[in-house]
């Protein structure tokens, strides 16, 4: 085997482009392993783990391009590398004459009102500040922006009458246009302020499927409702939605806020001329229940129901679960399994879906483990080894270091499905499929072969595997909601209209419905 590890100083490409280039390299004759990535400490560790080493690699920094290729012969590796440069340059050639900085881009689009930033975290804050200084609102997808920087950005935005969505903001819908991971949702009277990306996707998709629509869904980033940030973005967004003529109802979607932030939000909500629904995902402390002046819900489904009620819209059938029918279905599935098949393994792409599943397990008093635990008592020791009921957030940092998010790159979820299938005690695989802009073009197709293989393995042992899923999206999404659901159902996957219902079914199956 012949290995090469090269470092090119200060050469930047985005991670999605580099993933495509790496895949093309791996398909070259004789190439066994290939990775083209930015030299972040995590990526350098990954390459070392794969057996690559060179003095250059030691000196690589996060702004340097690292190329690692292993192949059967030196000739084949050299030939692959020769092609690589062409691909990299083609990526840039398309951009010739393209603006190289935000300021240059402003010359092309003087009427711009928003900067969408998904740069590495250590550059994202500076560019966000630059954008604010040029009068642009900011959608900051990047994570790894320090909280002090977040606060400074949000204060600056406040002083300038601008909005900073993020950092770590996955989703927004502005006047019907999706930013980041977003679904094709019709416009309507509901304004959303959400700290969580997949939570916002589920809420907006369900509102759409219930026949209503979204005026704007504004993201805040995961930390905004904590007292460290104090809801700076949430408050700006709230004022904007109060002023916004298209918005009739305002919905907050976040984990329970810090006490000071809660008090501040509550003061605004009390004066609000528009009705307000809060979905505080999590175990809601008594003080929150006492202080919160509006409608208060704990799951996304409840928030959708409360919103529809305020709009005087009928509750659609898909939001009216029938416990008896669920129990019958669970009983039917139970019969296919062996007695030792007891455990549930949730393998989620959406962080909020993992979180909501944990919350419902917790409320049903079913103990579980998670790599992104609801509270310390549920912590999973080794993210690579499930124990008992395990609910995994595959978008958590441990899994995404040096990789793309599982909503785009299904590799790790696929591997995990097959790994869980090796465990004879596993009864249920619980999955989410997220559709929409910027998600994989075929989320179901990405995992279906692995799911069928997993079930096959269980059957070879004389049992079966209960596959439970929810699909987040709308018919207008590029992937098409109905087509994705249909393919799952054809493969005998139990698909539920909402993620909360999928979790409730699993709890019913466990005989522990909350």
């Amino acid at each position: 085997m012949f290995r090469v590890c090269l470092v090119q100083k200060r050469r930047y490409f985005d991670s999605m482009f580099l993933m495509q280039v790496s895949q093309r390299l791996r398909a070259e004759p004789g190439i066994q392993e290939a990775a083209v990535l930015m030299g972040t400490p995590a990526n350098v560790q990954i390459l070392k783990g794969l057996g690559f080493s060179s003095p250059e690699l030691e000196g690589a920094g996060p702004d340097d391009l690292v190329v690692a290729v292993a192949g059967a012969s030196e000739d084949q590796v050299r030939q692959a590398l020769a092609k690589l440069e062409g691909w990299l340059q083609a990526g840039r050639a398309a951009a010739e004459g393209a603006p190289k900085t935000l300021v240059q881009a402003l010359a092309h689009l003087p009427e711009a009102n928003l900067a969408v930033i998904s740069l590495p975290g250590w550059h994202a804050g500076r560019e966000a500040k630059n954008a604010l200084e040029h009068g642009l609102n900011v959608f900051l997808f990047s994570s790894n922006v320090p909280v002090e920087e977040e606060v400074a950005l949000k204060r600056l935005a406040q002083a300038k009458g601008l909005l900073v969505m993020g950092p770590d903001c996955g989703t927004a819908l502005v006047a019907g246009v999706g930013l980041g991971f977003a679904n094709a949702v019709r416009r309507g009277p509901v304004g959303l302020i959400a700290a969580s990306g997949t939570g916002a996707q589920e809420f907006t998709s369900l509102i759409h499927r219930a026949g209503s629509g979204i005026s704007h869904a504004l993201g805040t980033g995961g930390r905004d409702f904590s007292d460290a940030v104090g809801g700076l973005t949430a408050l700006t967004a709230f004022s904007a939605l109060v002023e916004d003529p298209a918005t009739e109802i305002i919905v907050f979607l976040a984990k329970p806020p810090g006490p000071e932030t809660l008090a501040r939000l509550a003061a605004h909500v009390r004066r609000s001329p528009k009705p307000v629904v809060a979905c505080f995902l999590g175990v809601i402390p008594e003080r929150v229940r006492r202080e919160w002046p509006g409608r208060l819900t704990t799951t996304i489904d409840e928030a959708v129901v409360a919103t529809l009620e305020l709009l005087s819209l009928p509750r659609p059938p898909f939001l009216s679960g029938d416990p008896a029918a669920l129990a019958a279905l669970a009983e039917e599935e139970r019969k296919k399994l062996l007695p030792r098949q007891r455990f549930v393994r949730g393998i989620f792409a959406g962080g909020t879906f993992c979180y909501q599943a944990q919350l419902l397990f917790h409320l049903a008093r079913v103990p579980f483990r998670s790599n992104a635990p609801l509270s310390e008592e549920y912590a999973l020791l080794n993210p690579l080894r499930s124990e008992g009921h395990t609910l995994l957030d595959m978008g958590e940092e441990f899994f995404t270091q040096g990789r793309l998010h599982p909503m785009i790159d299904p590799t790790l979820r696929r591997e995990r499905i097959l790994a869980e299938a090796e465990d004879p005690e596993v009864a249920v695989l619980l999955l989410d499929f997220v559709l929409g802009y910027n998600a994989s073009p075929d989320p179901v197709g990405d995992l279906l072969p692995a799911l069928q293989e997993a079930r096959e393995r269980a059957r070879r042992r004389g049992g079966d595997l209960l596959l439970v899923a929810s699909v987040c999206g709308t018919e207008a999404d590029p992937q098409g909601f109905a087509r994705q659901v249909e393919r799952l159902e054809n493969a005998k996957v139990r698909v539920f209209p909402t993620q909360a219902q999928a979790v409730q079914f699993v709890l019913t199956f466990l005989g522990r419905r909350a």
Binding site: E96, P99, K100
Partner: protein, 421 residues
């Protein structure tokens, strides 16, 4: 007390105001000893381009140029003699910029060499630049190269002086504005400006009652020399930049100059101090027969044109130059847009048709260079690394970031801006 940022903004606005108000007029072509006081005590002194440098550290081309000067001035009879004289320390060296002068490439100026004298009528200051040719200033000391300097001393210089006296001086601002609109960038490309200058001086030359041979020789030079205007352009740029010097708190660059060994900048709020870094290699095209390893490092005071917003800063308006330095029209436009990110003002009168008649950007701000990492781009020619060669190519070069970093750190020190905290 006002915030340091506000003081800087005010100071930079003032620096830009002064540069924009600059009104250069070509008033004379005079022997250097008549107009540069440093030459008046009769000692052997050679002014050169870039920041200060000693004979030992001097680049090959600049040494070759100095040899030619010693022969031109009659300080030595052979190149060997000249070399020994220069190495002996008997001839003093000083940077042009310290004497309100500039010179292309090696930039050498000596007492007998004619210089263009440009007066900035808005502020009353004068600046000087030596004539441009393509041999001696690149380090060539052959008899032909020295002969050109003698021709300047004896024929062209006096003729141009007579012509300028006849017409009472030539305002350059309108000429420069037209040349920029005609596709010149006034550094490597002076085709339009040189023609406009020839037009403007033709009748005054005729009216100066010169001997026929001198008149014809001078006209022949003027009408056949596509970069003739670089000398007046550099003197004009220097005359425009100098009033912006020494404004407290201003972070605007007032000189960028290279001697083939070091690249140096001077900053308005930081007095006459040079902030230097090793001279970078030039990216460009070499004349046939020369290889990249022959090329000397970046050299010349001509970056004074970029300092006032011309040269590579207006590449987007001068696509004709790309045949000389390489690249595409899209790149040229992108460079010009890029330079807007490190400058503080836009000139209302110098405008570029290719950029929808936007004004040229000027006033390089060391803070913006520091923040963006974008360093000024400079059009330039390429000299040989060894003495004794003519021009070997042309290309583009970036000012080293290190100069700007050093200047920023000195600024923080001088104006007591705590570095962290």
């Amino acid at each position: 007390m006002a915030d340091v940022r506000e003081r800087i903004e005010e100071a930079n606005a003032e620096a830009a105001r002064r540069m924009i108000a600059g009104d250069p007029v070509l008033v004379d072509v005079a022997p250097a000893r008549e107009v540069i006081p440093a030459f008046q005590d009769g000692r052997k002194l050679i002014l050169h381009s870039g920041p200060p440098v000693t004979w030992e550290r001097m680049a090959g081309a600049q040494k070759g140029s100095a040899v030619a000067i010693a022969l031109f001035e009659g300080w030595a009879k052979t190149p060997q003699e000249a070399w020994e004289l220069l190495a002996s320390g008997e001839v003093a060296f000083a940077p042009n910029h310290a004497h309100r002068a500039v010179g292309p490439m090696a930039g050498t100026i000596s007492p007998s060499l004619p210089v263009f004298v440009v007066e900035n009528k808005a502020f009353g200051n004068r600046a000087f630049c030596r004539p441009v040719e393509d041999r001696q200033q690149f380090g060539d000391y052959s008899p032909g190269a020295v002969e050109t300097l003698w021709r300047w001393r004896d024929v062209f210089g006096p003729a141009l002086r007579a012509a300028l006296r006849t017409c009472g001086g030539l305002p350059l601002k309108p000429l420069i504005a037209r040349a920029l609109e005609m596709g010149d960038e006034l550094h490597n490309r002076q085709v339009a400006a040189s023609s406009l200058l020839a037009n403007a001086l033709a009748i005054p030359l005729l009216e100066a009652h010169l001997p026929r041979e001198q008149l014809l020789a001078t006209l022949r030079l003027l009408v056949n020399h596509p970069v003739f205007f670089l000398g007046p352009a550099m003197a004009a740029a220097k005359a425009i930049a100098d009033p912006a010097r020494n404004i407290p708190y201003a972070t605007v660059v007032v000189a960028m100059a290279r001697n083939g060994t070091e690249f140096g900048i001077q900053v308005s709020g930081l007095g006459d101090e040079w902030f230097t870094a090793p001279a970078p290699p030039v990216q460009g095209l070499l004349f046939p027969g020369y290889r990249p390893e022959d090329a000397g490092l970046d050299m010349g005071d001509s970056a004074i044109t970029e300092t006032v917003g011309w040269g590579a800063f207006v590449l987007g308006g001068a696509p004709g130059i790309l045949s000389l330095v390489g690249g595409t029209v899209a790149q040229a436009l992108a460079y010009t847009r890029e330079m807007r990110e490190i400058t503080v003002a836009v000139h209302p009168e110098f405008r570029i048709p290719a950029l929808d008649f936007q004004g040229i950007a000027l006033g390089i701000d060391i803070r913006k260079v520091g923040r963006t990492g974008i360093t000024p781009l400079i059009d330039t020619a390429i000299a040989h690394k060894d003495p004794g060669h003519p021009k070997i190519g042309a290309g583009l070069v970036r000012a080293p970031f290190e100069c700007f970093k050093k200047a920023l750190l000195r600024f923080a020190e001088k104006y007591e801006v705590a570095k962290v905290g």
